[in-house]
């Protein structure tokens, strides 16, 4: 295939790496990134200086220092100067920018990474700051409380039951049992045992919420023939798209995710068979909402969150790109041929990104 310009469907993931999702990692965020970025580059089998563009995703509020993201760049090897960018968002959005940059056609390899340590902060306090500063942030309304409101709306709509929430958690815990990078693993998880747990933020129980996690992830993408040289079975990115909804929770239907459905369509997902879907539903009701938006279910032919998903490990700012890396891993190892990965940002699935991956 000639290395033509506008190679939208001709870009593939050829290397990836992640840290385990940890409750409290002692190394600094950059120290988590250094071996992770290096491992992704080594898997791709390239030299560091072959990377034509680098994009990183992180959150200075989470790290707790202005310009913290500048330090993270050191994990890429930024001297002599490299072409790079940063998004104050999940690494999935960094990958989106790097994927766009590759489509210009003048470079063959790009690196994206995402990182975050939630353990030093009180995430409930930090994430109140992503909300509208007039009507919401001063209320101190935290992600778990907002997710509780959403969960109630979903129950009241009749679209799901508390048992359905637990089913999503059981799927996560059991799948995570075979994922060494997952934080919460339980091969014996059962709906009955979970339903016996007390409410944490009713109607949510603690297991319906994500753990507090530290972690990092990196992905190497290559274009066209270069991708084929570097990887026996590249994970081709057939499409990637992200869409956003209104910010105020009160003006949205919290029980559906039209932005996910639209992003999936724009990414080229036609509703056809998928081997794997990796969703970034950080609360169990959100996983159900996302599945519904994609026309999928926990009981269908598509394997849902084989890694355990965000409920099994939630390194914020990395967790979305981890979903893409997990989906890509299954294409590259041949266990899947078509996979869809999802990342989210903002309160209550406000913004959603979908990446459609295929083998040859």
């Amino acid at each position: 295939m000639p290395a033509a310009k506008s190679t939208r469907g001709d870009i593939a993931i050829v290397g990836y790496a992640q840290t385990p999702s940890l409750r409290d990692a002692n190394p600094s965020e950059v120290q988590l990134l250094v071996p992770t970025v290096t491992a992704a580059i080594e898997m791709a089998g390239i030299g560091r200086r072959e990377i034509g563009f680098t994009c990183a995703g992180s959150c200075d509020y989470l790290t707790g220092g202005p310009f913290a993201f500048v330090s993270n760049l050191e994990a890429a090897g930024a001297w002599p100067p490299i072409s790079e960018s940063h998004v104050e968002a999940d690494g999935a959005w960094a990958m989106y920018e790097a994927w766009m940059r590759l489509q210009e056609g003048d470079i063959d390899i790009a690196l994206a990474f995402g990182s975050g340590k939630s353990s030093p902060s009180n995430p409930a306090e930090v994430w109140a700051q992503q909300l509208d500063p007039y009507y919401l942030a001063p209320l101190g309304v935290d992600p778990v409380s907002l997710a509780g409101i959403q969960a109630r709306a979903l129950l009241d709509s009749g679209k799901a039951t508390e048992e359905d929430f637990a089913r999503a958690v059981v799927n996560s815990r059991r799948n995570a049992a075979s994922n060494p990078n997952a934080q919460l693993r339980d091969a014996d998880a059962s709906v009955e045992a979970l339903m016996a747990q007390p409410y944490f933020r009713a109607p949510l129980r603690k297991h319906d919420c994500p753990p507090i996690s530290d972690g990092a992830v990196a992905v190497v993408m290559a274009r066209g023939d270069r991708a084929r040289e570097l990887c026996a079975r590249p994970a081709w990115i057939r499409g990637m798209d992200h869409r956003i909804e209104a910010h105020q929770p009160g003006v949205r239907d919290l029980t559906s995710s039209p932005s996910t459905a639209l992003a999936a369509r724009k990414a080229g997902y036609d509703g056809g068979p998928l081997d794997v879907v990796e969703l970034c539903g950080t609360f169990s009701p959100q996983e159900l909402i996302l599945l519904d938006a994609l026309g999928l279910s926990l009981d269908g032919d598509t394997k849902v969150n084989p890694s355990g998903g965000a409920l099994a490990g939630n390194p914020i700012m990395a967790v979305g790109l981890v979903r893409i890396a997990e989906a890509a891993a299954r294409i590259i190892d041949g266990s899947a041929n078509r996979a869809l990965a999802h990342a989210t940002g903002g309160p209550l699935l406000q913004q959603n990104l979908v990446c459609l991956l295929e083998g040859e």
Binding site: P138, L139, V141, A202
Partner: protein, 140 residues
Amino acid sequence: MTETKLEFPYSRTLGPVVGAFLAGLREGKLYGIRGADGRVLTPPLEYDPETGESLGTDMVPVGPGGTVVAWTWVEHPAPKHPLSRPFSFALVKPDGADTPMVAPVDAGSIEKMSTGMKVRPRFKPEPHGLITDLEAWEPV
């Protein structure tokens, strides 16, 4: 263990829409604004959430009563939460409004909470010009 404390002291100018709403709270009044499709949006927004068009500055009085549309229960309030005893974070739709607002409901116990319950606002005796001047909604 190290401790790092970051403080961001913001003085935010409010503009004619948010400013009018928060000023209303000082007087114990609630306002919405008419969206592009005629819906009354509360709290009032400057731009239509669907179309993005400017919604002007004409306030529509709403309330004082309201209805709980969705809710969660906070058994152990955190220091940054608006109430220090167990309460509900809820979506409350003021009478006359078409969209609900995120707000605390001070019901005392989870048993008193239900979707569709009627509530009335309780305002702080000494307003600070913040959304929290609407201290909480209470069961009617």
